[in-house]
């Protein structure tokens, strides 16, 4: 027998973040913390208008300012003038026309941020204002001339499924409005570019979600081979979807190449609001048909997603929206029409939940209306219709994933309600918080439900993969991958996988950069599955090689070996050797690319197996409302989430609680106010994020059912927490005040006026 085992942070344990110590001490290098000798600062000139023709750009005065080294405009872009995640429709710099307020027009490099600001102020741009397309409905049809060569409708998708002639005994209908939410990561956009001495390439430290996609788009715009653009992940201060698109990458690299000096760019908070895409505001109409008992027989729906000026991921967001019309419920027939459109509003793209947030807000509102119409309660109606594995979606796709919807609802329902608000409740604990606007007697309590289904990984035939390399030497493992660590904890998980597969204790992550194949994006709740699968695969290949090596040395068929704790054991004999000893003096390195199963495009009727897998979650919200002032305090969120196998309980809990806070924000306070294309609140004074005093008690149950399709049995857990919590909170507000509210965020006037 071997000696007493040291505790090893394998899969299933709450292994701690390897970057935790550095982060609490302030030693962790976020991209904005980076410095280089002889470094210049970059800054961007942006359009003050949502739609205008550019008559002229005069940089002659600005370039004369002492300390200004370089000014670039569209004329200086050496390669492709546009970029984009799905279609390349967004200019690196606006040339002839600006299509949204905040669109980049020029960039400057100078010796100090203040010099940059003065230079930007000295650039003269002459505009001819154009009519502003700000109403998404006006983008459909011919009401407004095309504001972009690609037209005003980015994509339309219909779904026609089942017997569409069916009519329900009970019909409920609703119009829902979802406001524009911002990801509001705390670490604003930042990059530092270091030009190669020969001027033929550049190294860029950047906070991004997808290094290789950035590299690809930058290469096209900079007219350089991709390998000449070496991207390194700088420390990332949160992402939530907002770092999937290019922001300052091309600008920073181009300024560095033009000046032959290191250039750092970093957006301030105001600029950050203009510098990245937001969650699509949407209007959703739904009409549910049900039997007299409340079983859904058909859903009709229409979605309009406002994509803003450029496409970004609008077409994929639309598909997520329309294909999640039914929610986590059985539905035999559907007629759905969906648009994502182009306007002169800020561009919208990826944000945690990606199109499903909008669908869920509508379908959950509908479920409550249905419950009311047939005289039952929110739990019963949802249990009655709960989806199961094997059900067919309105796209015709069978649900092969574990789908414990009824269990999620029941387990959430079993979580005890919070105690009633006491008669001597502290005023600070009431709606209105530190403003002390209410007394206990003014407050009403409500309870609401939200349940959701979310596709995980990419859809519609995209060959999605992730790459990882595992190197074992002297009992130590080094893992290499390009997976963006944005705070979610993949750098914690990857070594856990190596410890479990290889029996090592010492496992670390190498620099995250483009010196290995793509990992895909840290989005769509996909990295645990995809990059986890890649790391797992690479570690297994290394294990095979190690077994072969030990087998040859000891004349044992390697097939008989297994890893048992930190040892290799002969399962048919007595031989055993520690992994540390077994790997002394050798180096084994293997790379693995994990692909998920293929998906299909949708046909014109929206039919096809377009998604890979699904995850589910239930939320019950308890809120206190001041009905007269329209103020809300979310008291408790109870949740049961379908997580597959739990690989790190502490990390999963962190995702659940964090996602809930973001969903709470969308429910009651977070909205970018855009009036006729103009953003009115681009600051943290006026774009409100939940504070510690807004945080509810979260009681979470992780529902563990091994997902057979997933490499580690685990589902992605990032997005589901923020999806159905929003409708649950809004439903609780409705319950408290007995009034219909069909928009989020809920504003005080929606409650009390």
């Amino acid at each position: 027998m071997s000696a007493v085992k040291t505790k090893r942070d394998v899969l299933g344990t709450s292994s701690l973040r390897p970057d935790g110590n550095a982060k609490v001490k302030g030693d962790f290098a976020f991209t904005s913390d980076l410095h280089a000798e002889n470094m210049l600062w970059g800054a961007t000139l942006r359009s003050p208008h949502p739609h205008a023709r550019i008559i002229s750009i005069d940089t002659s005065a600005a370039i004369k300012i002492a300390g200004v080294e370089c000014i670039i405009t569209s004329d200086d872009v050496p390669g492709q003038l546009t970029y984009g995640l799905i279609s390349s429709d967004q200019p690196v710099f606006a040339k002839d026309v600006v299509r949204y307020m905040g669109e980049p027009i020029a960039a400057v490099a100078a010796d100090h941020p203040e010099t940059c600001r003065r230079a930007l102020a000295a650039i003269t741009v002459e505009y001819e204002l154009l009519p502003v397309l700000f109403n998404a409905e006006d983008a459909i049809g011919d009401a407004f001339q095309a504001i972009h060569p690609d037209g005003n409708v980015i994509r339309r998708q219909q779904i026609i499924h089942g017997d569409t002639s069916v009519e329900g005994d009970v019909i409920v209908e609703g119009h829902y409005v979802i406001g524009m939410q911002d990801q509001a990561f705390l670490g604003t956009e930042s990059a530092m570019a270091l030009p190669d001495p020969d001027g033929q390439g550049v190294e860029v430290f950047v906070a991004t979600q997808w290094l290789h996609e950035d590299q690809k788009q930058m290469a096209a715009c900079l007219n350089l081979p991709p390998e000449k653009i070496r991207l390194v992940l700088g420390g990332v201060g949160g992402a939530f979807g907002a770092r999937e698109d290019i922001s300052l990458q091309v600008h920073t690299a181009l300024l560095a190449l033009r000046t032959s000096r290191p250039v750092k760019m970093q957006y301030g908070r105001e600029e950050s609001f203009f510098g990245h895409v937001h969650r699509h505001p949407a209007t959703v109409w739904m009409r549910h048909h049900a039997t007299a008992e409340g079983k859904i027989v058909k859903i009709e729906a229409r979605f309009v997603f406002d994509g803003g000026a450029y496409a970004s991921t609008s077409s994929a967001v639309l598909i997520n929206g329309v294909t999640h019309t039914q929610g986590p419920y059985k539905c035999p027939a559907a007629v759905v029409d969906g648009y994502s459109v182009r306007t002169n509003n800020p561009p919208c793209g990826a944000m945690r939940g990606f199109g499903v947030v909008q669908a869920c807000f509508a379908h959950e509102g509908q479920m409550d209306k249905l419950a009311a119409a047939i005289g039952t309660d929110p739990v019963t109606i949802r249990l009655l219709n709960a989806m199961e594995t094997g059900d067919t979606l309105i796209t015709g796709q069978p649900v092969e994933s574990v789908a414990p919807v009824a269990r999620l609802i029941r387990e959430t329902n079993e979580i005890p309600l919070p105690p009633a608000l006491s008669l001597d409740a502290n005023e600070l604990d009431l709606p209105g918080g530190s403003g002390i606007t209410a007394e206990r007697k003014h407050i009403k309590r409500g309870i609401g439900w939200g349940v959701s289904i979310k596709n995980i990984m990419y859809s519609e035939g995209f060959d999605d993969y992730s790459t990882a390399k595992c190197t074992l030497s002297d009992g130590k493992v080094v893992l290499k991958f390009a997976t963006s660590e944005v705070g979610q904890g993949f750098v914690t998980l990857a070594p856990q996988i190596a410890r479990s597969v290889l029996g090592v204790t010492d496992a670390i992550c190498d620099t995250i950069d483009t010196q290995i194949g793509s990992a895909g994006s840290t989005s769509a709740s996909r990295q645990t599955w995809m990059s986890g699968g890649a790391v797992d695969g690479a570690c297994r290949l290394v294990r095979e090689r190690l077994f072969e090596h030990i087998g040859a040395q000891n004349n044992i068929d390697p097939i008989r070996f297994a890893i048992e704790d930190d040892e290799i054991v002969d399962t048919a004999g007595t031989f055993r050797i520690s992994v540390i000893e077994a790997s002394q003096g050798i180096t084994i390195s293997e790379t693995f690319e994990h692909h998920h199963r293929a998906t299909e495009d949708l046909d014109e009727n929206g039919q096809g197996n377009c998604h890979v897998a699904f995850a589910f979650v239930a939320h019950r919200a308890v809120v206190d409302v001041d009905p007269e002032l329209g103020l809300v305090k979310v008291v408790q969120i109870a949740t049961a989430q379908d997580v597959g196998q739990v690989l790190n309980p502490l990390s999963v809990l962190g995702q659940i609680e964090g996602g809930i806070a973001q969903g709470l924000g969308l429910a009651v306070m977070e909205e970018i106010i855009v009036q006729e294309g103009r953003v009115r609140n681009p600051s943290f004074t006026d774009y409100l994020l939940p504070t510690a005093l807004d945080a509810p008690v979260v009681v979470a149950r992780m529902i563990e059912e091994y997902e057979p399709q997933a490499p580690l049995g685990a589902k992605g857990v990032g997005e589901p927490p923020c999806i159905s919590v929003t409708p649950a909170i809004v439903a609780a507000i409705r319950d408290a005040i007995g009034k219909d509210i069909d928009r989020c965020p809920v504003r005080p006037q929606d409650i009390c006026l």
């Binding site: 600001r117 301030g268 105001e270 709606p431 209105g432 918080g433 530190s434 403003g435 002390i436 606007t437 209410a438 007394e439 003014h442 007269e628 002032l629 329209g630 103020l631 305090k633 009651v668 306070m669 106010i673 009036q675 009115r680 609140n681 600051s683 004074t685 006026d686 409100l688 939940p690 504070t691 510690a692 005093l693 807004d694 504003r747 005080p748 006037q749 009390c752 006026l753």
Partner: protein, 277 residues
């Protein structure tokens, strides 16, 4: 370009006499936001933060007043002895920004900026505070109502330092409430102070007009309708709120709507009139 750092009020007034265009800096919580957001580019700064006498406070038994130095941070007002003496002011101070802002920000700053959303200003209005100013030409004292003359406009002369504020200490009810769309750290959508001073009701409203507004008609109604200000009926309180709301003059902006603000100020008036009875 320089930062001038006087250590006495006298020294500060001498500096301001020489540099009337200088920008006054105390806690920095207003000025630095404007600098950081590129809205202001001050040439020279006079820092008041290191003047110890601006952080003094004292009571005067004879006049029944408290005088609070303009440089005392909100954190020192929101609790302790000052909070006991002027609870409405303490409550207003507690709603200013975040703990970090309250550790730096001062009433002098609230007065210097004179935003209609300035959190302590409704209290100064309702309690009819006296604002003390000092210049090289001498000291003067101005009632708050004459001090704030418009949105972000006041009657401070460029060479004057705001030194202190004097408020009455009353044994009668006073309260402050502020509506914001978040439970902490939020700019006011509507704020209000109700106070009874010398058996007379007073009600001041913030963020619902170009300056802090006194609801004179509502005050007069309440004084006549309620024989005992500690025994106000719900009905009278609602009418008081209705009249106060009618006296507000809010606007629509990105933080809220005029309609909501008018409604909210009426609710605050009703609740504050009844609170503590």
């Amino acid at each position: 370009m320089s930062v001038l750092i006087p250590h006495s009020i006298l020294e500060a007034s001498e500096i301001l006499a020489q540099h009337p265009a200088a920008t006054i800096l105390n806690g920095g919580t207003d000025l630095m936001v404007e600098v950081n957001f590129n809205h202001r580019r001050p040439d020279s700064i006079v820092l008041l933060r290191n003047i110890a006498e601006l952080r003094d406070w004292s009571t005067d038994a004879a006049s029944g007043t408290i005088t609070i130095g303009a440089g005392l941070p909100y954190a020192a007002i929101e609790k302790g002895e000052i909070a006991r003496l002027v609870p409405a002011l303490a409550q207003a101070a507690r709603t200013v920004g975040s703990p970090q802002i309250r550790a730096a920000g001062t009433m002098g700053g609230n007065l210097g900026t004179c935003s209609p959303a300035g959190d302590t200003l409704p209290v100064l209005s309702a309690l009819e505070a006296i604002v003390h100013l000092q210049s090289i030409e001498g000291a003067r004292s101005v009632p708050f109502a004459d001090f704030m003359v418009g949105p972000k406009r006041n009657s401070r002369q460029p060479n004057e330092v705001i030194t202190a504020v004097t408020l009455p200490i009353t044994e009668q009810r006073q309260g402050y409430s502020k509506v914001g769309v978040r439970n902490a750290m939020v700019i006011s959508v509507a704020s209000a102070c109700f106070a009874i001073v010398n058996d007379t009701p007073r009600f001041a409203m913030g963020s619902v007009g170009p300056t802090i507004l006194r609801a004179r008609e509502a005050e007069a109604y309440l004084a006549s309708a309620a024989s005992n200000l500690n025994d106000i009926t719900e009905e009278i309180a609602h009418e008081f709120g209705r009249i106060a709301a009618s006296e507000s003059r809010p606007i629509d902006d990105h933080r809220s709507t005029a309609t909501y603000r008018k409604h909210a100020i009426g609710v605050l008036a009703t609740r504050l009139a009844l609170k503590g009875i």
